[in-house]
């Protein structure tokens, strides 16, 4: 049991507990804020798994923009945000069963696929920015350039849906 394993277990626990609070929280804003904790803990797990750049993507994009967008989306609707705003429908038991079954199935597949894998965290450097930069700008040139088109289309879409005025 190394220090890394202990930190990994602790991060995992934080992620699990906060994820549980996301779905059980009574107020929708609290759920969104607990999501920040979950995503942060997952970012920590990425660092421990030597996926350095992905961890920073997680922090900047998910904890940063995605949660901001989520909160903005809550503000833009007329949804109440006070206590009881996250009250769920009668489908909660069904959703619990589906989510539980999915977790077990995916977990079993992952366990069967990677059960015996050992990562030496002092040796592996697969996820550094340099390594990924090499991959993005060489092997994945075309998907990378097409990604800019996705961003462009998304922004055009946002303007189309929201812009008033006569220009």
């Amino acid at each position: 049991m190394t220090a890394v394993t202990v930190v990994f277990a602790a991060m995992g626990l934080v992620a699990l507990v906060s994820a549980f609070l996301v779905v059980t929280s009574d107020q929708i804003i609290h759920a969104a804020l607990w999501l920040v904790v979950t995503l942060g803990a997952v970012a920590g797990l990425y660092v421990l798994l030597a996926a350095e750049l992905v961890a920073w993507v997680q922090v900047l994009i998910y904890m940063g923009s995605v949660v901001v967008l989520l909160l903005f989306a809550l503000m833009l609707t007329r949804t109440p945000t006070g206590p009881g705003s996250a009250t769920v429908t009668r489908n909660q038991p069904l959703a619990t069963v589906v989510a539980g079954a999915t977790t077990v199935a995916l977990g079993a597949v992952m366990w069967a696929g990677f059960g015996g894998e050992v990562i030496d965290e002092d040796e592996v450097r697969v996820g550094t920015a340099a390594r990924l930069g090499d991959a993005i700008f060489r092997t994945w040139v075309l998907p990378f350039e097409v990604l800019s088109v996705v961003l462009l289309a998304a922004l055009v879409g946002a303007i189309v849906l929201t812009r008033r005025g006569e220009r």
Binding site: A105, L106, A108, V109, M110, A112, G113, F114, D120, E123, V124, R125, V126, T128, A130, R131, D134, F137, R138, T139, W140, V141, L142, P143, V146, L147, V149, V150, L152, A153, A154, V156, G157, I159, V160, L161, T162, R163, R164, E166, R167
Partner: protein, 539 residues
């Protein structure tokens, strides 16, 4: 990538990495379309409002035609590859794209659908000089702001660049040679379509509901697809279809990961092609979306997603075909039967065409399940032919839907179409030809395409599917005949349907699609030769 070689890259002194090898001429059709899309956005930014709509049409049409010419040039120059099965062309752009025979044929097909789509988008004579798209999407439906925007003739000419984005995504999707590129392409093609579905001028709430449903379910299915990609990567250690194929053949790693990954990828793709039980969005979205968008989407998305599905499952998972083929069999059977039976109960023309589109997904799956390759009718060539014939007839049928109108816009209730044969015989005959093609009656493209997918399936030993397919066709035929009788022999309700007089844009779409449907039925030889010469996928 082992730990040692990674260390070597990071630890080594800076040494320049050689430039990636991209053959721009070969991928030029894709680049032209994406370039036209970006240019369209710049037109939105700089051209004054009065000239914007016309400029956008010009940019889109020139872009599509130029890309089509480039596709023909690329297709003519493909080298023949001799392997187990004959193919043409091969991977380019660092292995991201496989510009092979099927890819080039699909590009040409998509560009053809794209051109027809742009012509329908550009139609402004049907609704008193206004396009089929809402004046301003941000105004609440029925509000004074909306009327003000309509009076000022504000228009969303952004639909043209958005359609070009979707078209580029479809072309990328059909030719991507690795799963990562496929996912990016899936997003490029889906995002603009979600958006355009919500922009109808008439019945805006229905249109917005359709966009919302399509977006939520589409995002969900993309997540399935992505999770499947992650699992297959875990299994094979690569995104490349060739590398996955090698891993599948040598049976390395845990088979559970592969099975789960294949299943999730299949779910994501079956959603896009609207196969049962992943079809629930189709009727609502086809009904709610602006009809020109429905036409473009019905033909284009189905073509791109089917070619991508064949490419993934034939190239990457070909070695595991006995694992996935039973699932495709089962889904083909329920899709054909459900599509045929459910369309009988429809009273709305657009929903009827949506269920017909579901049934056609089932017939296409029959062609896929045949798994035949070699000379003669292969699964790939049969599916490609089917996609051309179905796409042309679908665009034509939706083009006819845009013309039958009343005071509230298009009238899509089937009962209101009674007596169309007296009101506009030409239009009724055109619609009848499309319906007969959907039903697979001889002398239409639909007959040859059904025959070729059934032949491919029969050769591959999938004869039970052929039997079910024939039964489903007979069921559907009953319904289509009923609609034809309604068009020509039923007494009109009230004043009967009104047929708007369109500009040459919509007329030419109807004329071209009728011509294609009949030529493919009477003289299918040239296209059959073309799709057979396209050969197999090259990885």
């Amino acid at each position: 990538m082992s730990a040692v070689s990674v260390q070597a890259i990071v630890g080594a002194a800076p040494s320049p990495i050689e430039a990636p090898d991209v053959d721009y001429a070969t991928i030029s059709p894709l680049l032209i379309i994406l370039g036209a899309a970006v240019l369209g956005v710049l037109v939105e930014a700089f051209v004054p409002r009065a000239y914007r709509f016309v400029t956008q049409i010009a940019v889109a049409v020139v872009g599509v035609v130029a890309a089509f010419v480039a596709t023909v040039v690329v297709g003519a120059g493909l080298d023949t590859v001799d392997g187990e099965v004959t193919g043409r062309g091969g991977p380019t752009a660092m292995g991201s794209l496989s510009v092979d025979g099927p890819a080039v044929v699909t590009w040409a097909m998509l560009l053809f659908f794209g051109l027809l789509g742009v012509l329908l988008f550009a139609e402004r004579r049907l609704d008193g000089g206004l396009s089929a798209f809402t004046s301003q999407a941000s105004t609440p439906p029925g509000s004074a702001d909306e009327r003000h925007a309509t009076r000022l003739r504000i228009e969303h000419s952004e639909v043209f660049p958005l359609a070009m984005f979707a078209l580029g995504g479809m072309m990328f999707f059909a030719s991507a040679n690795d799963l990562l590129g496929m996912f990016v392409a899936l997003e490029v093609l889906s995002l603009p379509l979600y958006l355009m579905c919500g922009l109808a001028r008439r019945r805006r709430l229905l249109s917005q509901e359709a966009a919302m449903k399509y977006f939520l379910l589409g995002a969900f299915s993309s997540a399935f697809f992505l999770y499947g990609i992650a699992m297959v990567y875990g299994y094979a250690g690569s995104f490349g279809l060739a590398e996955i194929s090698t891993a599948v053949s040598s049976q390395i790693g845990g088979q559970n990961l592969l099975l789960a990954g294949m299943a999730l990828i299949l779910v994501g793709l079956l959603f896009k092609v609207a196969a049962v039980p992943f079809h629930a969005w189709t009727p609502d979205v086809y009904q709610g979306a602006p009809t020109p968008v429905t036409a473009f989407m019905a033909a284009g998305t189905k073509a791109a997603a089917f070619v991508a599905m064949l490419r993934i499952f034939f190239v990457a998972f070909g070695g595991a075909r006995w694992d996935w083929a039973p699932a495709v069999w089962a889904i083909a059977i329920i899709t054909m039967l459900f599509g045929a039976i459910a369309s009988i109960a429809q009273t709305d023309v657009k929903r009827m065409l949506a269920y017909s589109s579901i049934a056609h997904a089932g017939f296409l799956l029959v062609g896929m399940a045949g798994l035949t390759s070699g000379d003669g009718v292969t699964s790939v060539s049969a599916v490609l032919f089917y996609l051309v014939a179905y796409g042309a007839a679908a665009i034509g049928a939706f083009a006819v839907v845009t013309l039958v109108r009343d005071a509230g816009g298009e009238t899509t209730h089937l009962g209101r179409w009674a007596g169309l044969g007296k009101e506009s015989p030409v239009l009724a005959v055109a619609f009848t030809i499309f319906l007969l093609s959907f039903a697979g009656i001889p002398l239409t493209g639909g007959f040859i395409s059904k025959w070729s997918v059934f032949a491919a399936a029969w050769d591959g030993g999938a004869w039970p599917l052929v039997v079910v397919g024939v039964v489903a066709s007979a069921l559907a035929l009953f319904f289509y005949i009923r609609v034809v009788v309604l068009l020509f022999f039923a007494p009109p309700q009230g004043d009967g349907p009104t047929v708007a007089v369109p500009s040459p844009l919509t007329w030419s779409v109807v004329a071209i699609t009728v011509a294609v449907t009949i030529v493919l039925g009477v003289l299918p030889g040239p296209l059959l030769d073309l799709v057979q010469q396209a050969g197999a996928f090259v990885r």
